[in-house]
């Protein structure tokens, strides 16, 4: 469904993303993890069209989308959420979601109806008529998700949709993401919350300093020394192994 | 092509006019650099200052240059009060609101002046109004030459204040990081008002230098506002060097433009530059990336 080949981009002196290739197949939930500053959101920006790559190509649903502007990529069926949620402040939850719904529903009434159904799906039923700004952070994250969902995508890029949520809220969102995949939409998610990654992901890519350092099934990644080093620092992998050997 | 004997005085004239533009722009760019306000009332404030100099001359017989020590503090006070009481309070810190509030102030000032002073154009007569200075064969109006040096001098003083005093340090801190400045105990509202005051004080000085060679009427501010914005945008928002260089450049463009295209059309060059800079290089010559 989505294939990125050898993507690279440089900002000034910094190689934000270097030679990254990844793949998301239809029906998969793929996770993208890595320490802060690894280039994950930049990779999203490359895929969704906000940033143009210096090298490499992106193919989606059989066509090349490298260099297309964000709105055209969305129209092709690739939607994304933002890490820093940006709701349409002056509008209600329903109106917010309707903006996304309008992509495939021209009449206002149809878009609003679609918005209602998406709101129910993500659990924002009760908040439909409230102003977007009156929602809590958890609510706004769901709104962000709902808006992208309303565009009826084939692939959804979720950028830290669980960040800032407490365990109860996280437990509420996990089934929603699973439900999205089950309804036929592939998911590529950036996540820090490891528990969610383990539960949801079919495949995991690990990014560090703009480079892909590991890829595989969640269990394998969790035990990979390179990954542990990336997160916890040099020598940690060996230390942990020594500790568990002693135990 | 134009002969040097015509071009040279034109460029010199442009430089002297440009120096005054630079002085006006210095205040505007300071205000933008610190408060991030695009002060739409700048032109109207200049107009008020010009009337101030005019009446000091008419009523008290004070020579405009002698009025400097009166006008500069007076305008500073006006600026301080305006920022503290009106702008700061009303705009809630949002960009477009501030634009509108300063626009409102400009409207009020301009029309109060219209009401009180009527729309006649007034000039003052000083012994040196018609004096000229010979520079390498070009005869340049003496008040304009004084204006050139006055503007450069004021700019130097401004740079000294910003660079060497405690207030200047506070101003620079706030310009970079308002929240942090507040956290270390700087009275941000006070410094904002001080900065706005200094910005208008520059106008007080500019008015003293400008009036001998120019005129005043209630709408004179409008013309200056746009030119001042052009200078600030060309030089780079918040950059003093930019305001100086930009001012001189724009002065020359206007003068030479007037030579080529005639008085009326000559000014068009300025606004075309304005549009071009905003479109293609919004950070101007010396500014940082917008």
């Amino acid at each position: 469904m989505l294939e990125a080949r050898d993507l690279s981009v440089r900002f000034g002196g910094l190689q934000a993303v270097g030679n990254v290739s990844l793949r998301v197949a239809a029906g998969q939930i793929v996770a993208l993890i890595g320490p802060n500053g690894a280039g994950k959101t930049t990779l999203f920006n490359l895929v969704s069209g906000s940033v143009k790559p210096d090298a490499g190509s992106i193919h989606f649903d059989g066509g090349e989308i490298t260099g297309l502007p964000p709105h055209q990529i969305c129209r092709r069926g690739l939607a994304r959420t933002f890490q820093m949620v940006q709701p349409f402040a002056a509008q209600t939850v329903r109106e917010n979601i309707a903006v996304g719904a309008h992509l495939h529903h021209r009449p206002r009434r149809a878009a609003l109806a679609k918005a209602d159904s998406v709101a129910t799906r993500v659990g924002l039923d009760a908040e439909r008529d409230k102003l977007a700004t009156s929602l809590t952070i958890a609510g706004r994250k769901r709104l962000e998700l709902a808006r992208a969902l309303a565009t009826e995508p084939k692939l959804l890029l979720l950028d830290e949709v669980l960040a800032g949520l407490n365990p109860a809220e996280i437990a509420g969102v996990i089934p929603i993401v699973r439900g999205i995949r089950d309804s036929g939409i592939a998911v590529l998610m950036i996540e820090h919350v490891m528990q969610a990654v383990m539960h949801l992901a079919d495949y995991v890519y690990v990014l560090n300093n703009g480079q892909l350092i590991a890829a595989g099934a969640p269990a394998a990644i969790a035990n990979s020394p390179q990954v542990i080093e990336a997160y916890l620092g040099h020598g940690t992998a060996a230390r942990l192994r020594a500790e568990s050997a002693r135990a | 092509m134009l002969e040097l004997s015509i071009l040279f005085p034109s460029v010199l004239n442009g430089l002297t006019t440009g120096a005054v533009y630079a002085l006006i722009a210095l205040g505007l760019t300071l205000i933008y650099g610190v408060l991030h306000i695009i002060n739409f009332a700048h032109g109207a404030a200049l107009m008020i200052a010009l009337y101030g100099v005019y009446f000091l001359h008419q009523a008290l017989g004070l020579d405009p240059y002698v009025s400097l020590p009166i006008m500069v503090p007076a305008m500073f006070a006006v600026g301080y009060v305006l920022q503290r009481l009106v702008i700061g309070a009303s705009s809630h810190g949002k960009d477009e609101n501030i634009l509108l509030v300063t626009l409102g102030i400009a409207i009020v000032l301009e029309n109060l002046a219209l009401y009180w002073f009527k729309s006649d154009t007034r000039t003052i007569d000083t012994p040196y109004t018609l004096a000229t200075v010979d520079i390498l064969g070009a005869l340049i109006s003496a008040p304009k030459v004084v204006a050139l040096f006055g503007a450069l001098g004021t700019a130097a003083i401004l740079l000294l204040i910003i660079g060497r005093t405690d207030l200047g340090r506070a101003i620079r801190a706030i310009a970079k990081e308002p929240l942090g400045a507040r956290l270390v105990g700087i009275d941000v509202d006070h410094v904002y008002a001080m900065s706005f005051g200094i910005g208008l004080a520059c106008l007080g000085a500019a008015a003293c230098f400008l009036l001998p060679a120019y005129y005043v009427n209630p709408t004179v501010g409008n013309g200056f506002v746009l030119i001042a914005f052009t200078v600030v945008v060309l030089g780079g928002m918040g950059s003093f060097a930019g305001a100086l260089v930009g001012g001189l450049l724009i002065g020359v463009v206007e003068s030479v433009g007037g030579l080529w295209l005639g008085e009326s059309l000559g000014q068009i060059g300025i606004f075309l530059i304005f549009i071009a800079v905003l479109l293609f290089r919004p950070q101007g010559l010396f500014g940082s990336r917008v």
Binding site: S48, S50, P69, P70, H71, Q72, C74, R75, A79, F82, P87, F88, A89, A90, Q91, E95, A98, V99, G100, H102, H105, P107, R108, L131, R147, A148, T151 | S90, H92, K94, D95, E96, N97, L99, L100, V101, L103, G104, I105, A106, I107, V108, E110, N111, L112, L114, Y115, K118, N222, L226, T230, L265, I268, F271, L272, F274, I275, L278, L279, P282
Partner: protein, 310 residues
């Protein structure tokens, strides 16, 4: 419904003075409505909207006076020119991503450039301006009765109201308001922000040009300062802000309130030049400070659109 009510007003109001008042209020409302489309719904605050007004006004005057065109044809041309200038300004400014204060400034610069051009060339009458001869006939779009002018302007005001209503309930309107509230998010949801903004500025500029054309027919005179000066630009934004940005009825309401305010100041302080404008300036400051949602915002529980984004 509103249109019917106003249309019948001339039947009840015989006084020329009152008819003029209503007509001028409607004229101000048209300017405010058109500014509101770009600023209230589209989020692009233009400080030089006069550039479109003046284009319509001069097109109307020049075509009739210098080329002998019929007024109706000139009106059509004025609207077309208005749209063209709108497209031109929009293409340049939106292509280069100008927003916020920079957009406001650049529109001001455009207005000034046009003013200088109009002031220079003889075919626009240069500084002296143009006078459209009084012909008092419907064929020449100069209705014999005052009521005729009222209908003239009413048609356009109704058009602007209908457009605003449509913006509230259409896909295009939803997209436009999304771009206003957060352009990046809108783009991520499939909205072509450039195109949407461009369409908005063209609609807005066409309506402004209509206002300019009306002005010329009603007052028979235009000059560069009237056409492209700050007066019209300020009048346009004032009505919209006072009434309520991003609402359907706000600008009309604002125009009405400002008219009453203007009359009141005139009554109190006499006919001195500039007095009512002082009041307007104070009102602008007060509204931005205390009622950023305008009068309509005050009347509703839920604010329609904010002057500043949360």
């Amino acid at each position: 419904m509103f249109g019917v009510a106003v249309a019948f007003a001339p039947a009840f109001v015989a006084s020329g003075y009152a008819l003029n008042a209503i007509t001028m209020t409607l004229y101000a409302a048209l300017l405010a409505q058109s500014w509101n489309i770009l600023a209230g719904f589209g989020g692009q605050f233009s400080f030089g909207h006069a550039v479109f007004f003046g284009t319509g006004a001069y097109a109307m005057a020049v075509l009739q006076v210098k080329f002998g065109w019929n007024a109706w044809a000139a009106l059509a041309a004025a609207l077309a020119f208005g749209a063209a200038v709108g497209a031109f300004v929009g293409l340049l400014t939106f292509r280069y991503g100008l927003r916020g204060s920079y957009f406001a400034l650049v529109t001001l610069a455009f207005a000034e450039v046009f003013r200088i051009l109009a002031n220079t060339f003889p075919f626009t009458g240069a500084g002296v301006g143009l006078m459209v001869p009084l012909r008092a006939s419907a064929f020449d779009l100069q209705p014999a009765s005052r009521a005729g002018y009222l209908y003239f302007i009413l048609v356009f005001v109704l058009a602007s109201l209908l457009i605003s209503l449509w913006l509230k309930h259409s896909r295009y309107g939803a997209w436009l308001q999304a771009v206003r509230d957060n352009e990046e998010s809108a783009a991520a949801l499939g909205v072509d922000a450039f195109r949407v903004k461009l369409q908005a500025i063209v609609v807005s500029s066409t309506l402004m040009a209509a206002g300019g054309a009306f002005y010329v027919q009603y007052l028979h005179y235009i000059d560069p300062h009237l056409a492209y000066g700050p007066g019209v630009s300020v009048e346009a934004l004032l009505g919209a802000i006072v009434g309520g940005l991003g609402t359907v009825w706000g600008p009309l309401l604002g125009a009405g309130v400002l008219h009453v305010l203007g009359e009141a100041t005139r009554g109190l302080v006499g006919d001195a030049p500039g007095v009512n404008l002082v009041a307007y300036g104070i009102v602008l400051i007060l509204i931005v400070t205390f009622m950023p949602h305008g009068i309509i915002g005050l009347l509703r529980r839920r604010p329609p659109t904010k002057l500043a984004h949360a």
